[in-house]
């Protein structure tokens, strides 16, 4: 059967229906005032990034013109603004490249060929682009454009082709280009799957002022979601290793699910921006925390995705399968939707990150949710679902709804925790701990149940009274406006430093971090680990870390001709390859015959030479700077240049830094360094030493590697670690011994030095990052001091310096060339300030 003609939609008819998109001067002024307040809030709370603020200012300026243009010029203007936004955020070269690639893809959709031929050609071009994204083929443009190009086309091309195939509405190039290059997209790689028909159909189909006001309301709601997300992300999220009882588990489960607020907040922001240009799109999320069944959850969370799945997969599958019976068709079509959801999430991950995502948690999560939705659908198909247009729910219905909401919230939290866990074993270990400690924390259970019921009760009230009532008008105009303006003003005032500091240091220290989008302490630790290992935790869109990773080039600091390190037997596991030379994006990197990232030295210390053995991780080795640019090389060169003969004829600093080395590995590095007869050993600590040391011990135990240090062996024995244990359990067991581990390492180093007459020096070199990573620093300093090191605290070295100007990149917090210069200068100063303890009393002394 041929397609039935849809209602014809064109700008002229829209104009007649919706008052030509006109807005009164007073209405316009009201909108503009709210946009100004939004701008201040965006700036105050550093919503998204600097690129977003630029795009937002362009949006506001564009809105002011757009609102007064005749309707027929508005869509072309929106397109122009969207293209300008791309150039503004990505720069001219990247922006033009992205636009040209996009035009190519859109042009293929409209070639004068059969539909099948166009699809085949498109698949071929997409396959070539995918090969370039995966770096199997070279791409003559920067990797920076992939996430945005992927975000603009990966799903919208599917929707667009589907509508081209079935729709008889005339093709409008301006509308098609506006759809793909949609203004906010350039700043948001994670973008809702906007439906093309809806994008076209709902354009200025209501009073212009009302559309704009809804857009602003949603943006305010988006900001609130994002700030709530930050509260959860900074203050409530836990790692599995930090879960010790039912209370911790409840916090872990709930906070894990609530991290999704970032996605819902961002989507509200995006759609709100589109409203400013007349696109009256549906809600992207509808009170998803208040879902009362599995199907209800699926309908409320990421509504655009659900609609995309229904349109492109569910209905076509159902209509093809219904010859086998309606129930069979319903079951198979629903399962097909969940299969495609899983596959398309992996596909989305590929375009945003450039890697494939196939993990068991993903497969099981979508399978379980799919099966539950099928069962729920069959139940609803048989028994029906309660709906209402205007009638109030009965007391019994309300009570049932409350219990359902509370139960569903708990269940989704559990399911979500499984999805986001690093491994299935880790997830099971959470429940084991609760079982073990249940008796101790049993008092928390009634509290948790009460909290869930109260949440469900208020949710039940909101859901019962707040379901969309078709045909009902929105709340009174003035009331809605007052709520929005009041919310903006409260946010604005709360974000003023002199206001929140007025409430004391506790309140100030809570609010201050909420004003910027930094990585949480857990993600900061994950980022550190991510320099050296492939992080599984970054495979979900909830935390901010994936976004940082999406910008990181796949070959970031790759070293030509294989790695810089090689695997060796024994406790240390890896070392730098001797006599290695390679080039990186940041210059030549080479090692000497001893496997040090340094110039060549003799094994025997030359006479009248002050020799330092420098131990540390990648910051010391000089990750991200060329040979001769490390702070070690700069300091050595300056000492020889400016301190020559006072009192030593020569200074040598031997760089034993190895990327990824954890504190216990420095014991092995020290063994190697002692063979070079140093005068002093400089141990560089960069933060979070005790937890990293503990994690390393867990790693070697799991790998059954022998620990050659008795003090560390004793800790492992006390913590009762065994190789079969999952990582979270092992980390939990070893947590009480963090200080003991670090003490063993530091005392081991200091005592070996002192017994040989070597000066042990402990240097604290802060990481080049903001956010929470210093929580272990005071204890670390105390342990180092107690071990008898000469202390050099560089804690304030980056004070007053823009962190972005001295680190390698947003995704790599190692110091860059300028950072190394700063460190070298400060160490030179410290060296002279502490010369009495650092330099032996006579040249002949050791």
């Amino acid at each position: 059967m041929a397609a039935v003609l849809p209602r014809e939609i064109n700008p002229a008819s829209i104009g007649q229906l919706a008052g030509h998109g006109k807005i009164s001067a007073a209405g316009f002024l009201g909108v503009l005032v709210q946009l100004a307040l939004l701008t201040l809030v965006f700036r105050q709370f550093q919503i998204e990034n600097a690129g977003f603020l630029r795009l937002w200012l362009l949006t506001v300026a564009g809105f002011a013109i757009h609102a007064f243009l005749p309707l027929r010029y508005r869509l072309p203007f929106f397109l122009g603004l969207s293209l300008a936004g791309i150039l503004l955020v990505l720069g001219v070269f990247h922006g033009v490249t992205l636009i040209v690639l996009g035009l190519l893809l859109i042009a293929i959709c409209h070639l004068p060929l059969s539909f099948a031929a166009r699809v085949a050609l498109l698949l071929f071009v997409v396959a070539v682009l995918a090969a370039q994204r995966a770096q199997w083929l070279p791409a003559p443009w920067s990797e920076a454009i992939w996430p945005i190009l992927g975000s603009m086309f990966m799903f919208r091309l599917i929707v667009y082709l589907y509508d081209l195939r079935h729709d008889t509405a005339p093709v409008s190039p301006t509308r098609a280009l506006s759809y793909f290059f949609m203004l906010p997209n350039v700043c948001f790689p994670l973008f809702p799957v906007v439906d093309y028909k809806t994008f076209r159909r709902n354009y200025f189909d209501d009073d212009a002022y009302r559309i704009y006001q809804v857009g602003i309301d949603w943006m305010v709601r988006g900001i609130v979601h994002l700030i709530l997300y930050r509260i959860v992300y900074y203050y409530f999220s836990l790692s599995p290793a930090e879960v010790h009882g039912p209370g911790d588990l409840a916090q872990y489960l709930v906070s894990n699910f609530l991290l999704y607020l970032r996605v819902s907040g961002t989507f509200h922001l995006i759609v709100g921006m589109l409203y400013l240009f007349g696109f009256r799109l549906p809600e992207t999320h509808h009170r998803y925390l208040l879902a009362s069944s599995f199907t209800d959850f699926w309908r409320r969370i990421n509504i655009y995705w659900k609609d995309f799945m229904l349109k492109v997969f569910y209905y076509p599958a159902y209509f093809r399968l219904r010859r086998f019976g309606n129930t069979t068709a319903l079951v198979l079509a629903t399962l097909f939707v969940f299969l495609m959801t899983w596959l398309l999430h992996a596909y989305q991950w590929f375009w945003l990150r450039g890697t494939l995502l196939f993990v068991w948690q993903d497969i099981l999560f979508w399978t379980v949710l799919g099966v539950l939705v099928v069962v729920n659908s069959l139940w609803e198909a048989k028994r029906g679902r309660q709906r209402a247009l205007g009638k109030a729910p009965s007391w019994r219905g309300f009570s049932t709804l409350t219990l359902k909401i509370a139960g569903m919230f708990c269940f989704i939290c559990v399911l979500w925790s499984f999805w986001t866990s690093e491994s299935i074993f880790e997830w099971f270990s959470l429940w084991k701990v609760v079982g073990e400690n249940f008796a101790n924390d049993v008092g928390i259970v009634p509290v948790i149940l009460a909290a869930v019921l109260v949440g469900g009760l208020s949710g039940g009230r909101a859901a019962a009274g707040g379901e969309p009532k078709p045909g009902k008008r929105k709340p009174a105009r003035l009331r809605g406006l007052a709520i929005t303006v009041a919310s903006l003003l409260i946010l604005l005032v709360l974000g003023i430093e002199s206001v929140y500091t007025h409430f004391g240091p506790t309140v100030a220290s809570v609010i201050q971090p909420l004003r910027s989008g930094r990585l949480s302490r857990l993600d900061t630790a994950a980022l550190e680990r991510g320099y050296y290992e492939n992080l599984l935790q970054v495979n979900r869109f909830n935390s901010q870390l994936w976004e940082v990773y999406s910008k990181r080039p796949a070959n970031w600091l790759d070293i030509e001709g294989g790695g810089l390190k090689r695997h060796v037997d024994g406790f240390v596991q890896v070392e730098l390859i001797p006599a290695f030379v390679s080039s990186t994006n940041y210059g030549i990197i080479s090692t000497n015959r001893w496997g040090m990232r340094d110039q060549d030295y003799e094994l025997q210390r030359p006479a009248d030479t002050y020799r330092v053995a420098l131990l540390g991780p990648s910051n010391v080795m000089g990750w991200g700077v060329g040979d001769g640019e490390t702070f070690e090389a700069l300091l050595e060169s300056r000492l020889n240049r400016e301190s020559n003969g006072t009192p030593f004829a020569k200074y040598e600093i031997l760089n034993f830094g190895v990327p990824g080395y954890q504190p216990p590995q420095q014991l092995a590095a020290l063994d190697k360094a002692l063979a070079f007869d140093p005068t002093a050993v400089f141990y560089v600590a960069t933060g979070r030493e005790s937890s990293r040391a503990a994690r390393y011990l867990v790693e070697v135990v799991k790998k059954r590697i022998e620990i050659p240090y008795p003090a560390l062996q004793a800790v492992v024995a006390k913590a009762v670690l065994d190789p079969g244990m999952d990582e979270a359990t092992a980390l939990r067991r070893i947590a009480p011994f963090h200080a003991e581990i670090l003490t063993a390492v530091y005392q081991g180093i200091a005592e070996q030095c002192r017994s040989r007459g070597i000066v042990p020096v402990w240097i604290f070199l802060p990481q080049v990052r903001q956010g929470r990573w210093q929580e272990e620093t005071p204890e670390m300093l105390r342990i180092a001091q107690a071990a008898g090191f000469v202390m050099v605290d560089l804690g304030d070295i980056y004070k007053g310096v823009d962190v972005a100007s001295i680190r390698l990149a947003e995704w790599d917090h190692h110091p860059n060339q300028r950072g190394h210069e700063l460190i070298a200068a400060r160490l030179y100063h410290e060296f002279h300030a502490k010369r009495d303890v650092l330099l032996p009393s006579s040249k002949t002394a050791r």
Partner: protein, 87 residues
């Protein structure tokens, strides 16, 4: 004819999905899909009802808000189908 379809569709929706609801609340322009009255299962139930009653056949791409968001849309779609493919 269109009045008959409209009444039948409304009666079906009220009895199947909105039991106990005041019939006056369901108007010709009440949004059904975008308003949350018709979810995917309910929409398919309605499609089956219309197909059986009026001898028309729906296609997958027609099951969307553009064609089925209000009873007025549904009537328009069914009439167009009956005009094109008279039973």
């Amino acid at each position: 004819m269109s009045d008959d379809i409209n009444q039948a569709v409304k009666a079906f929706i009220l009895s199947e999905f909105l039991p106990g609801e005041d019939p006056d609340e369901l108007k010709d322009d009440t949004p059904l899909i975008t308003g949350g009255v018709l979810d995917s299962i309910a929409t398919l139930k309605l499609v089956l009802f219309i197909e059986e009653r009026y001898g028309v056949t729906f296609e997958a791409h027609e099951v969307d808000p553009e064609h089925m968001d209000t009873t007025a849309d549904i009537v328009r779609l069914v009439c167009a189908k009956r005009l094109r493919d008279p039973a």
